[in-house]
Amino acid sequence: MTTTLVFDALTKRFGDTAAVEGLTATVHPGRVTGFLGPNGAGKTTTLRMLLGLVRPTSGTATFDGRRYDELSAPVREVGTLLEATGFHPGRSARNHLRILSTAAGLPPGRPDQVLELVGLTPEARRKVGDYSLGMRQRLGLAAALLGDPPVLVLDEPANGLDPQGIRWLRSFLRSLAAEGRTVLVSSHVLPEIEQTADDVLVVAKGRLVRSGTLAELQAEGRGGTTVRTPDGERLAQALADAGLVAHGLGSDELVVQASPAAVGELAARHGIVLHRLAETAGGLEDVFLSLTGQVQA
């Protein structure tokens, strides 16, 4: 019971604003797919169209060929967490989940189980109006997990979470994907995606500008080498003579746009002592900025 999501020429215009324009992409089961884009790129609008909350101007978004409103038991098939999902401030978290669970015909024990899963059990009976941002986010995640669905669609799930929460979320999403589920996560926090995603979709100004595996995109970035040496000035000079671009990170550390092998061999030829030589995987940010910048330019 795995599910593939397909966006086909999905388009949404709000008056003159083209929020999403001809977006075509596939999201595969068993993988975490990061949905990246700068503010206003159309991520939320795309996800809301996928979930039947916003009507596409044209195109489709489907789960194994079915639109969201054609799913027979949506809560059991797709778990969702959206930005600005509402809670009645006077209602407790537990009651909020009981309502969703009742409407979806789930077993009565489910709300308490998911509250436990997201670590909200001690606060379950408090009014949501008194919750912190992170607690609301956890409640939203609990709601997404109610139906134990094979698909998760999460819009900026790390918003407001503390470091423990973020780490928990990361490993949780990885384990969900490892179980064969389809996980689509939007974010503009790149390091978060780099640590979580297998595949990446990049949107800018409503258009898909790149899709691929995370590794592919990272490799496209000007990947480099971090090198530490007690002899920073000489190494910098040697690199410059060899025509390599390097940036200093403090007096004894440099980031070089070259492979570790090239940097190591160069240092050996000049007899420069190295204390550290490591590949940096900081490529995604470069790719992201150039991809999304291109569209803006």
Binding site: A84, H88, G105
Partner: protein
């Protein structure tokens, strides 16, 4: 559909608003009964203190909370948009019309509960106050008919509120509009143009009770069944319009 109705009832049971509105409705019932009974026999009052209709008149106030139920219906719907709970509601049930129908049924059930408590309060208050004024407490057929009519009115006003809320979506606009309509526009129309006024929801509820403000111009009222059907028609037609127009809007 039963699951959805149960979820809607759970929504109502897990917030404080319905309780406060019930208290408000009962206060209106008590005020109404007291006003009816205590003014009886005063100069210019429509009823004598020994009027055989006095008890029926008193218990007709059991429908005094109809506007409160209308407001509850409006709030139930508009709060979903105000607090953004419409998003989870429609995620669980993407066929939005089904959510609307579940709300219509749930509010009718809640209206029935409000109505039965209101009826009990009206009967007790009438029975206690009338002897105090040396009036006659007549438990005749008319009392029963009026009580059933009041319950019916209360049951049917909630769905109208849901429909109005779905059409207008903005809570303040819908509540203020509904109050202005029931307390101003409708009253004026009934008073000035009874032949038109009988087609308003207020005119229809007077018809169901066969007692209200139009009792003196009885000939202008619809029959009981006509009033009840008219109230149902208001709820159904307004809901259908809302389902077509406003409910399908994008939730961004």
């Amino acid at each position: 559909m039963t699951a959805l109705v149960r979820a809607e009832l759970l929504k109502l049971r897990t917030v404080k608003l319905p309780l406060w509105l019930l208290v408000t409705a009962l206060a209106l019932v008590l005020l109404g009964v007291a006003a009816t009974v205590l003014t009886a026999g005063l100069e210019g009052a429509p009823l004598r203190r020994d009027d055989p209709q006095l008890m029926a008149r008193a218990v007709a106030n059991a429908s005094g909370g109809n506007v409160v139920v209308l407001i509850l219906g409006i709030m139930v719907l508009t709060q979903e948009f105000r607090f953004g709970t419409a998003t989870p509601s429609f995620l669980v049930t993407p066929k939005r019309g089904r959510v609307l129908v579940a709300k219509l049924i749930a509010i009718a059930l809640v209206g029935a509960v409000f109505a039965i408590i209101s009826a009990a309060v009206a009967v007790v208050a009438g029975a206690l106050l009338i002897p105090f004024k040396d009036g006659v407490v007549n438990y005749d057929e008319q009392v029963l008919q009026v009580l059933l009519g009041a319950i019916l009115v209360m049951v049917l006003y909630g769905p109208i509120g849901i429909a109005v809320g779905a059409l207008i979506r903005n809570q303040i606009a819908a509540v203020v509009g509904a109050l202005a309509f029931t307390f101003l526009a409708e009253q004026l129309l009934i008073a000035l143009l009874p032949s038109w006024g009988k087609w308003t929801p207020g005119g229809a509820s007077s018809a169901v009770l066969q007692l209200g403000d139009l009792a003196t111009t009885r000939g202008d009222l619809l029959p009981v069944w006509g009033g009840a059907l008219l109230l149902v028609a208001y709820a159904v037609v307004l809901s259908a319009i809302a389902a077509r127009l406003t409910l399908r809007r994008d939730l961004t």
